[in-house]
Symmetry: C2
Subunit: 389 residues, 2 copies
């Protein structure tokens, strides 16, 4: 793990929030960090130049999708995912487990691994812990993830227990496979993270975290949350998991989330996030702003020549009006999707920047309170204006 | 016309090719020029920043589309088309005539104007010469066009004659309406161009050109070509029309064309072009290069990590491979459409730059010959490789 390092720069006195730096072979990134999701070697609608312009530091690639198309061997032949997509900053790849289960109704899980049919052509495939490590080595991301068996919510204790056992067994095998491949290739350029599961059962979360910590991964993810459970449960589980992860290791809350959820999770000590929300919502004309969500297709914006978010410094807010963006959406122009994505991702980056600044200046809780007040007050207003958003 | 000026910088000794400069209220542009088509206040898939990056100098807007959506009054309220779409360089708007006839099967033309139903909602509208001038004044482009009645190909002599008469009558009314509005508003910021019609009948083209020249427009377009007539006829008509347009006026060949056609037309003395070909083809994965067309979805490019056109300096060729662009198209990523558009429009801009340089260095015919040889030799190769393109 010569090439991977996590340093804590500052800890907040009044919460678990912290600012850190992750060092990778493709440069350093600061935490808390939000990673835009680049499913198929591309953050939807954006180029790598766009990602730099919005100041993205690290992005996420999906092992499942890249394995199926264009194939990990092709990406390896291109010189790895960084070269293939022309992105020279850090990348994290997930293990593909979540997509296998969420995109396929027919999967067969055994001790060996998970058998599934491609959602593209129905072809049969097997993901074993060893296989997903092999694929992720070919892709060459800076941070890679173990294969896990996610469970849905709600989930019985027995089911969650069985999944936990399997996930832990797979984590060990992933660790072993990763070590062997690294030693064989004389390269130690990828950090493998473990994933804590356990549904909403505190005891299982504890067991999962403790067992994984014994395996000494360079970083830990918390998986299986934000699947429909009550928010209070989400944060209870996050808080619990964080308490078992050694302080000096980065903590990654997978698939979260909304600006509000991320701010709460930062407060609990989370360092890393990824979510399709800002990009997917943007393509559906729903934008994130300091004042809550803004549904740009609403008729009230037809002749509103102000920027999406007057306090935003992104290129879209600097150059275009709400009226223009609304026109592009209404006429079906593809550029609307890209401009909306640029704005919302820039806002997410800005949110991380603001949180970091607040932690560094020692006023995180105050900032958090102000941010949420402004963000939610307008959420209500928005709701009043446009019905149920 | 205080704000409009056309200066010839250099005339080729061995052909009618020339290099010029058009001065407009939004800056100067050099000719020969290709204007990307920004139908709905947006060049499809691109932002205004993208257009600057590909070095576009002047773009085209469609009066018909903007009149229907978002409406010319809204654009006027935004401060005009330049402000609305955040483009501070010159814009040309067409009169909408061509779209009225090509997008509507049921139009009713009379001396008064043309009645049509919106292709969007079936609502009824009337475009008179006075109306299209009013709309174009509201849009505020630097160059605006007269209303004409385009004819299809083939077209009987009688039909073409009747259309010509109407077009001439409308041109006079447009000129009058334009003068009145300009004087009323104390602004002389828009140059109105006449459009020479006459189908493929030399006598009608001559009559049309001579009558329009008498009205002394600041520039002349040649309309109604590239509609399916033989290429030799196209260029015969272009050559004929050019011979009747005063040398000191800019000549605009509407809706043309392919790289080959533009090079031939420059040779005959054409200064301005517009066409949806580079943008539309790009969205269909067909790219323009110095070596002819390249169908990026072809399997031969699956593991081709070279740039689209090794001699191209665009951001796409500098950063991405054929294999990556093919992957984006194959996985349905929207960014594929934008990257392909950036490349092909950059190539069109480059083509104009190369032609200008050749004219300025006095070796236009030699360059033209070399360019076409390279461009067409590979067209054949391309054809051999991929079937009928």
């Amino acid at each position: 793990m010569d090439n991977f390092e996590f340093r804590i720069i500052k800890k907040d006195k009044n919460s678990n929030a912290r600012v850190g730096v992750i060092k990778t072979p493709h440069g350093e990134v600061s935490t808390p960090i939000f990673m835009p999701v680049g499913t198929q070697a591309s953050v939807k609608t954006l180029s790598s130049e766009d990602l730099k312009e919005i100041r993205a530091e690290m992005i996420l690639g999906n092992t499942y999708h890249l394995y199926l198309r264009p194939g990990h061997q092709l990406v390896e032949k291109a010189g790895g995912l960084h070269k293939f997509m022309s992105w020279d900053r850090p990348i994290l790849t997930d293990s593909g487990g979540f997509q296998v289960f969420s995109l396929n109704s027919l999967t067969k899980t055994s001790e060996e691994g998970v058998r599934f049919q491609s959602h593209l052509d129905g072809s049969y495939h097997l993901f074993t812990p060893e296989k997903v490590i092999e694929v992720q080595h070919a892709l060459g991301a800076d941070i890679i993830m173990v294969l896990d068996e996610p469970v849905l919510y709600p989930c019985s204790l027995e089911q969650a227990e069985r999944a936990n056992k399997l996930t832990l067994n797979w984590a060990e095998r992933c660790r072993q496979a990763h070590k062997e491949l690294e030693d064989k290739d004389f390269k130690h350029t990828q950090a493998l993270f473990g994933i804590i599961q356990g549904s909403t059962y505190p005891e299982l979360r504890k067991n999962s975290a403790e067992a994984l910590v014994k395996l000494d991964f360079p970083g830990y993810a918390i998986g299986g949350l934000s699947l429909g459970e009550p928010k209070s449960t989400t944060f209870e589980m996050v808080d619990l998991c964080v308490s078992y992860i050694p302080e000096e290791k980065p903590r990654y809350l997978m698939g979260v989330g909304t600006p509000k959820d991320m701010v709460e999770a930062i407060c609990l000590g989370i360092d890393m996030f990824d979510c399709v929300l800002p990009t997917r919502n943007a393509r559906n004309a729903s934008l994130f702003t300091r004042f809550g969500k803004l549904i740009i297709k609403n008729s009230e914006y037809a002749d509103d020549f102000s920027p999406i978010d007057p306090e935003c410094g992104c290129s879209v807010c600097r150059n275009y009006s709400r009226a223009y963006l609304r026109h592009l959406f209404n006429t079906g122009e593809i550029s609307a999707l890209r401009l909306a994505t640029i704005h919302s991702l820039y806002f997410y980056m800005d949110l991380m920047r603001m949180a970091k600044e607040a932690i560094l200046s020692g006023n995180f809780l105050e900032w958090k309170n102000d941010f949420l007040k402004k963000y939610q007050s307008n959420q209500k207003e928005e709701r009043n204006n446009v019905g149920n958003n």
